[in-house]
Amino acid sequence: MSVQVLNPSGNGNPLTAKDYATDQDVRWCPGCGDYSILKQVQTVLPTLGIPKEKTVFVSGIGCAARYPYYMNTYGMHSIHGRATAVASGLKAARPDLDVWIITGDGDALSIGGNHFIHLLRRNFNVNVLLFNNEIYGLTKGQYSPTSPKGKVTKSMPYGSVDHPFNPIALALGAEGTFVARSMDRDPKHLRDMLLAAHQHKGSSFIDIYQNCNVFNDGAFGLFTDKDTKDDHTLFLEEDKPLVFGKETKGIKLDGFKPIVVSLEENAADECWIHDPKDKIKASILSSFFEYDMNQGALPRPFGIFYKNDRATYEDLLAEQIEEHKKKDNTDLDKLLSGENVWEVK
């Protein structure tokens, strides 16, 4: 991927991925999936035409949350679960900034679940990158709200009895306007998703499968290992049929029920054609998750599940302010005196 564009900050030199790296040592474990995500973001950013000083990364707590320290932009490593809330205030105050939220499955979906859904519903124009490793890494290996039931961890040695969240379904339910999934092991796809997320005006959410090679190694092996990935991954593309398994299989809808068909017996264009504006179909796509767990039958979709334009919170707020600046009192002294004044002489 070409990463060189003119540096919009004005010195004429093109920005490169290097410009976005800081002098701080990256402290993630060797082999962690976070490295790949950091690299893809650093690669994509210089292509966006946004000045470096207008870019802000906000994170909460967790392994992923160290991220802002490694980006030579403005940034804040806030507190657990609250990156979305901090970013909401920042974006409301400063719509001109390009705001990225770095979060994890514990940070966004457990302790910060409330802020996460409200950010999506308000549709701030920000990008939310969920580093989903289905485990608590920083606290050394407890199950997370995306860990599958039965997962054996330090905090559930006989297997977790928690039913996991489906992050895509949650984001759709929270009225997210851009909902996508990608993974650390597919850099090209991840870069595409980052670009698309950034282009979308509104809250863009990417559920990024990220391997924790220390506490949950291979959690996504089905989707990343050579032997299995073709049969278990489905890459969504707008206006294209849902096909997978090296184009040997496709998905059709039987009523509301997705079924796998062989492309030897069916033409590809008879398969389900992906329309990311269709929320009902997006919802069915999000539920492949359940079919997959229970039956092993359906592949896991990656790509943009749903995309829709809706006014952003910060624009509506700014519009209201402009409107009232025109028609209401703007004189501070008038405000202080109020309507009912009397004088003592």
Binding site: G89, K325, L332
Partner: protein, 623 residues
Amino acid sequence: MKEININRSKKEVVILFAGDSGDGIQFTGGQFTETVELFGNDISTFPNFPAEIRAPIGTEAGVSGFQLKFGSVEVFTPGDQYDVLVVMNAAALKVNLHNLRPGGVIVANTSGFDSKNLKLAKYIDDENPLTNDSLENYEVHAIDISKLTKEALKDSGLSVKEIDRCKNMFVLGFIYWMFSQSPDNTIKFIQHKFKSKPEIADANIKALKTGYHYGETSETFTSRYEVKPAPLQKGKYRNISGNQATALGMVAAASHNNFELMYASYPITPASDILHELSKHKSFGVKTFQAEDEIAAVCAAIGASFGGSLAITGSSGPGIALKAEAMGLAVMLELPLVVVNVQRGGPSTGLPTKTEQADLLQMLYGRNGEAPMPVFAAASPKDCFDTIYEACRIAIEHMTPVVVLSDGYIANGAEPWRFPTSKDLKTITARRPDENDFLNDKFLPYERDEHEVRPWAVPGIKGLEHRLGGLEKELRTGNVSYNPENHQEMIRIREKKVNDIALDLPDQIIHRGNEGADLLVLGWGSTFGSIERAVKDLIEEGVSVAHIHLRHINPFPKNLESLLKSFKRVIIPEMNRGQLSKLIRERFLIDAISVNKTKGIPFSVEEIKQAILKYQDHVSTSA
């Protein structure tokens, strides 16, 4: 006909209007307030709402009240005991009678004392207090206000329900007559308010005039009073409540100094009115953010502050508890932030509509780690303006979160305010990065000036890119550091930064009395009015007593210690179990005596006087 004793002159009068939530009590009280203010009286008011929004009609739980004290002298509080008790129903009498002074006046709406209302108010055997002898120590005026209003408006064309809603205007008209006040201001107000509904305006005005004339023509009344204007300081005045003053102070601090104001909050009693007031002032660029919860509110404010706004969050005790972690983050980030706590009775949900001062130690210490924050407290409704303005200045100029304490009593209470003009407002100047904040062309976000203030670098400026976070910072660079020496030094610096704020604040003054008096009453927050009045009265009686009231609780004013040590004895009245006392004793080794009240209601002047006399006595006998 009895002789009407016109214009019995009074220095001060306390009135309580009480009735059902739906009786228009707050409106009635508000109108009376406006009228006597225009007339030139000093006044202090306090509304008393039921905790439930729509408590059952006619029950004790549903009684709403509006208390006011107005006078021809300086008025400090809404008063201890009522001189006049206006009750629209039996429950209102039952709940409030205990606080009517012996010989006081009762104005009662008799139709609110029918058997149904008596039952709802739980009068034993439905015995009507207006007709038995139980009120013989009071001057009772039992008037069938509902019936008289109905009669007066029978040709108005309004429905029975609409007519019934005019009865509060009858009462107001009658009270205007009783206190020799003109109804003209209220007539004007009604005309304006119901511009588009002339039939409603006419009916209200007619009810008002009928009540007024009823006073004139009725044979029942023997007393009419006059309260002359008070010798207030010259100038222009308006009425203001504490929450309103708090909101206006925020707008003033932002607008006068070219900051954008962001107020992020979650609805909570009794702080919500700040959000309501601010949300009206969009024309001043005010951004209000009603967050999904208390934590989101403070975090959004922190985000806005990082973005360069004057960022404020407000709540009450339970909400503040939720914000504690993020307040610690603000301490670590060293960003400007103002946190307003409009205190209420606690712990837990406690008494949402009642007042208390029990969050002082929470604000000082209720965070993990060594996390010092300046803590300021407002003393009266109008003082909320100056206090919040100063808090905004300190937050911005010293790069720190600042706490402002108010409480339900002054938040909802109101008084005349000689409002400032923008020319009277102090300038607030942020410490922006300068050439000294760089090392080899690299920006040092945690470089400091002599008072440990770091530069406020706002995103969007090239060359100042930096990362903040809750992890311990390295000196100067702000990078993450786990170095033991660095951590200890940063803790010392953050503490010194807050302590140095004392150098930027005025010396403590003595509000009343003289240095070296036998007894000092030391207060903070909303006890100001009661203490001030008690001390004033007792000084006039020759007692050697003084009053000092603290706005700045952290850091304490730099002259406070020497000032306190000049008095033989210090008593500290607080609506808690002795929180300021603990601080004063610990900090200055002064044997301060704590005087406590935790009933959800403010100290009366009388209670403060009793405390002064009790301990003053000890001083004289031991001397």
